[in-house]
């Protein structure tokens, strides 16, 4: 039997074996969330159940809507002052933990990222309402910093005690007309994961922030990157590369970003989307309202970076720009190839699993591919079907109660600011030439047949996967890190990057090759057994007795 067939038999068997341990109802659900990949003609892949409630008592990797809204999307912005309205924990746990980096324009420019302000609700407010305290907190924030903008984030109890963060925002904005104050209804119980919070964040940023200022940044070719959060300095590396090509990055949502860039973000000619899951809503809405086309890019992986740069340059269609882009790629690739070849020789054929995020489990396969490593299983924490199967399935996604409680905005053309960036004919021509817009092919279409795709992986399944496949490295988050490493397998965190990075762009690719090389060849995992443990007589009573 050749390898692929072997794996095929394995995966089927493995899946049913894993499911037998669940009670019938749970098994029925998990069966639809665990899929064996198969890419057919027209990029047809099997249907997966995603963005569905985690069953109580099953240990999930997922967080809450507040985490997605405040922690992920708005967190990396440095000069929107953020106030968590709720009891202390939620705000405390989201206090600069994601290691988003930022670079204020001048040493005196505001940066509130290390500042965690909370209304720290107490019992009296839970009983009598917390709006008064929230207003006082806003007064204090204004007195202290006089920020350009203030975001208020609702946590679970807030909705239930009847506090209206939007009403408070309106009232306080009337009091301080030069400050943009807005609230987010991102109570943690809304939606099935952080994903709901992304949507809440997108909506508010779209209605209350983008479009307030029509001043563009100087530059001929201007674009935004949506869904890049500057973990480990990724956005810095991307900024470096696009600048070298001669392209103006107007605004990143939201790594290394500021308020001014947000409010004028509609002045660009192109939106590119990195993390599709967290921010595709904004790209869609900006296209309808302002006429800005968007497509998906990926700056994770040296080849993927080159491909994305070429696509951006081709969009602008300027010959000199395209030439300069090629030059940059060529120059950067020299160093990349050198390290890649060296590392590949050692890492070729090693196996990896990725269970993380709403795009990273897909993007990082590029880097492993470049190193000759094989992804044998992957899955997202909080993605939806379109992130697995591609946007073509969007019309078929069922709207359940959990998605229904997140508002879908009705968006229309802006009578003044709408401007088609390219004529209809131009767009048509580009499309017939194979240029794709509004595209995301999804993770599964780019993975091998028979690979395991598992949505919302839990602890028990992780344990089974390790037992069965013993991969050389697993990529996930901090909650999984230590339980995996206790079993002798290195785990690379792809949320915080283990406080390393950057991993995006060309320099990032080199960093990642080296990091994975270090991990899979670390000596320490070979030291877990002491020499005397190899002789059975000595280890006879070593196992746990109960």
């Amino acid at each position: 039997m050749d390898h692929d067939e072997n794996m095929a038999v394995d995966t089927e068997e493995f899946k049913s074996e894993m499911l037998t341990r669940y009670p019938a109802k749970v098994a029925k659900k998990r069966k639809r969330q665990i899929v064996i990949n198969q890419v057919d003609a027209g990029e047809q892949v099997p249907e997966i159940l995603a963005n569905s409630r985690t069953i109580p008592g099953i240990l999930t990797m997922r967080g809450c809507s507040y985490a997605g809204c405040k922690g992920v999307v708005l967190g990396p912005t440095r000069d929107i002052l953020q106030i968590t309205h709720g009891p202390i924990g939620c705000g405390f746990y989201s206090w600069s933990t994601r290691r988003n980096q930022t670079r204020p324009e001048t040493p005196d420019s505001p940066n509130y990222m290390t500042y965690a302000m909370s209304t720290d609700l107490q019992e009296d407010e839970i009983i009598f309402g917390g709006e008064k305290k929230l207003k006082a907190a806003i007064d204090e924030a204004v007195a202290l910093f006089h920020p350009k903008a203030i975001g208020i984030f609702a946590t679970c109890p807030v909705g239930l005690i009847g506090d209206d963060v939007h009403a408070v925002a309106r009232e306080m904005e009337a009091k301080y007309p030069d400050i943009n104050i807005f609230g987010f209804s991102c109570e943690g119980y809304k939606g099935v994961s952080q994903s709901a919070g992304h949507h809440v964040a997108n909506n508010k940023v779209f209605t209350d922030v983008v479009g307030l200022d029509d001043t563009p940044k100087p530059g001929k070719f201007r674009f935004n990157i949506l869904g890049e959060y500057n973990i480990g300095g990724d956005a810095f590396e991307i900024e470096r590369i696009v600048a070298a090509c001669g392209i103006t990055l107007h605004s990143t949502f939201s790594g290394n970003s500021n308020y001014q860039e947000f409010i004028s973000a509609h002045t660009v000619d192109l939106n590119t989307v990195m993390c599709h899951r967290s921010i595709n809503y904004l790209a869609e809405m900006m296209e309808i309202k302002y006429g800005i086309p968007w497509f998906k890019v990926n700056f994770v992986g040296a080849d993927a970076t080159a491909k994305s740069l070429r696509k951006i340059a081709a969009f602008f269609g300027d010959k000199a720009l395209m030439e300069q882009t090629e030059k940059v790629i060529e120059a950067e690739m020299v160093a990349v190839r050198k390290v890649r070849d060296e590392v590949k020789a050692r890492c070729q054929g090693k196996k990896v699993m990725l269970f993380v995020g709403g795009s990273r489990a897909h993007h990082y396969q590029e880097l492993f591919d470049e190193m000759g490593m094989e992804t044998i299983a992957a899955g997202y924490e909080f993605a939806h079907r379109d992130d697995y199967e591609g946007r073509k399935v969007l019309p078929n996604i069922l709207v359940d109660a959990d998605s229904r409680n997140i508002e879908e905005l009705k968006v229309e053309k802006d009578p003044e600011r709408y401007k088609a960036r390219k004529s209809e004919e131009e767009m048509e021509k580009m499309k017939t030439e194979g240029f794709t817009f509004n595209d995301y092919r999804g993770m599964m279409t780019e993975m091998k047949d028979k690979a395991l795709i598992i949505d919302d992986l839990n602890h028990y399944e992780m344990e089974k996967l390790i037992e069965k496949y013993h991969p050389d490295v697993i990529c996930a988050g901090v909650k999984e890190k230590y339980v995996v490493q206790k079993q002798g397998i290195p785990l690379k965190q792809l949320h915080s990057y283990d406080y390393m990075g950057p991993y995006a762009g060309f320099v990032g690719a080199i960093n990642f090759y080296r990091e994975i090389d270090r991990l899979v060849h670390s000596k320490v995992f070979k030291l877990t057994k002491a020499p005397w443990q190899d002789s059975p007589e000595l280890t006879a009573n070593y196992g746990w007795t109960n």
């Binding site: 967080g63 924990g89 909370s118 196992g543």
Partner: protein, 470 residues
């Protein structure tokens, strides 16, 4: 002034909002306790976000797996109640983990909607005893700690969880009552490091009397690598040991700030007549002496020579290091009992804490600190209900030499351009935070070296000549 518009709990509070908090939420503390009980898994009754945040936070300090389940509230659960979710979660956790116990905590959400969790649990237990009678397998013990975070901090959750476990289990041992039990002792440790718990084991064993150390995450939150997969890391206070706490010769509780209604030792005393003694956290010579004396009193056994020797070395070190320490100024913050003990230790060295803060609201904090620091040359600024931004604002005029406390004081120290001596919880920007030894004579010696060496380093690097003998 804006702040006056709102009733604030503490007079030392000048701001309504909390800016860079110096406290965590209550379920966090409860989960740590539950992980310190053998085979026990915590389950947070509320939305999954709380449990995810709390797991992640604990892991960043301990660098160990910390599994915490959740009953995963949805929007409709939040409206119609979470009983079904809780039952489902309990049965799923039981099936997956086969735990000896499940420690349920509430959240702000379940408390806000007024969930009657004790009633749910009682009913669940009743139903399952039916199931067990009908041949089902033995199911885990269930504890419930009510932990609304709008009332108190992680320490309230910590104490409440201990209380919930003791009040549920103590006195329920089924071991035959006729057999004479050996004399034994209870020790309730407070929120200390894994290394501290190991030290407490050493100290207790030296008194040659069986004991119950509760909680005990010395292994469960600081274990080795695994030969075989462990659903729940081993270690933790055995349930049987907790059942027997009712017949102990006494209970020593480390820390004096536990509110009476959460005090497990008071409960044991009033229900079973087990003598209760509260002592300060044994950091510094005086506090450690008090702890050892209490141990002698309860066990009737002398302090072993081994500890006397360490004590001797500690005194010797104090004498050697005094010239570096005397008159230096420190900022200390953290949990009440921890801060009280650190202040007592620093003042033994001649160091003056100039700013002393805790995130908890406490009426007695200030007077206790002042009585410990009565020899200070100038009165220290003492704040309860404190946060880090306020601390920074106040600290600027106090010209402190160093900051002592958790990683959360990093910005404070950075802004003041003075060193941060990391101890306590959380420590997520250094290795081995959970392996820092604070307690006993040996812990004090360890802290002494840390403090003294930091001061020596300042002296050395600020000297133009760069002495190598100082």
């Amino acid at each position: 002034m804006i702040a006056e518009a709102i009733k604030t709990k503490s007079p030392s509070r000048s701001y309504t909002s909390t800016r860079n908090a110096c406290k965590l939420c209550a379920p966090f503390g409860a989960c740590i306790v539950f992980r310190g009980i053998s085979g026990c898994i915590p389950l947070i009754h509320g939305s999954q976000g709380c449990s995810t945040y709390i797991r992640r936070y604990g892991i960043s300090h301990f660098r160990e797996p910390i599994d915490i389940a959740s009953s995963n509230f949805t929007e409709s659960t939040a409206i119609f109640g979470g009983r079904d979710n809780l039952e489902l979660a309990l049965s799923n956790v039981t099936r997956q983990y086969k735990p000896e116990a499940i420690g349920v905590t509430s959240t702000c959400l379940s408390e806000t909607i007024g969930e009657n969790v004790p009633m749910y649990i009682a009913q669940y237990e009743k139903d399952r005893s039916e199931r067990e009678k009908n041949g089902g397998s033995k199911e885990p013990a269930l504890f419930y700690a009510s932990t609304p975070s709008y009332r108190g901090t992680h320490m309230d959750g910590f104490h409440e969880a201990i209380y919930s476990v003791v009040s549920k289990l103590a006195g329920t041992s089924v071991a035959s009552e006729n057999v004479e039990e050996p004399k034994h002792l209870n020790l309730i440790s407070g929120f200390v490091s894994s290394e501290d718990l190991r030290e407490l084991h050493k100290i207790l064993s030296s008194f040659e009397m069986p004991y119950t150390l509760l909680p005990d995450y010395s292994e469960s939150l600081d274990g080795g690598s695994w030969e075989e997969y462990q659903k729940l890391p081993k270690g933790g206070t055995p349930l049987e040991s907790i059942r027997r706490m009712s017949s102990a010769v006494g209970t020593i509780t480390l820390g004096e700030s536990i509110p009476r209604e959460h005090d497990a030792s008071a409960w044991l005393e009033s229900n079973f007549g087990v003598k209760a003694a509260r002592v300060p956290m044994p950091i510094g010579i005086e506090n450690t002496d008090a702890f050892f004396s209490q141990l002698t009193e309860f066990t009737g056994r002398p302090i072993s020579q081994k500890w006397m020797d360490v004590r001797g070395r500690l005194i010797d070190a104090y004498i050697d290091g005094h010239k570096y320490c005397f008159g230096k100024k420190a900022i200390v913050y953290g949990e009440e009992d921890f801060v009280l003990a650190i202040c007592s230790f620093l003042s033994e060295l001649g160091i003056e804490p100039v700013l002393v803060a805790t995130g908890a609201v406490s009426d007695s904090f200030k007077s206790r600190i002042l009585s410990i620091l009565k020899k200070n040359r100038s009165e220290p600024l003492v704040m309860d209900d404190a946060d880090f931004v306020t601390m920074l604002e106040k600290a600027k005029d106090l010209s402190p030499d160093f900051v002592m406390g958790s990683s959360k004081g990093f910005y404070l120290a950075k802004n003041l351009e003075i060193p941060l001596i990391r101890c306590g919880f959380p420590i997520h920007d250094r290795m081995g935070g959970h392996r820092i030894l604070h307690l006993g004579y040996r812990g004090t010696l360890n802290l002494f070296d840390l403090v003294c060496n930091t001061l020596m380093q300042i002296k050395q690097s600020s000297s133009k000549i760069g002495y190598t003998y100082i």
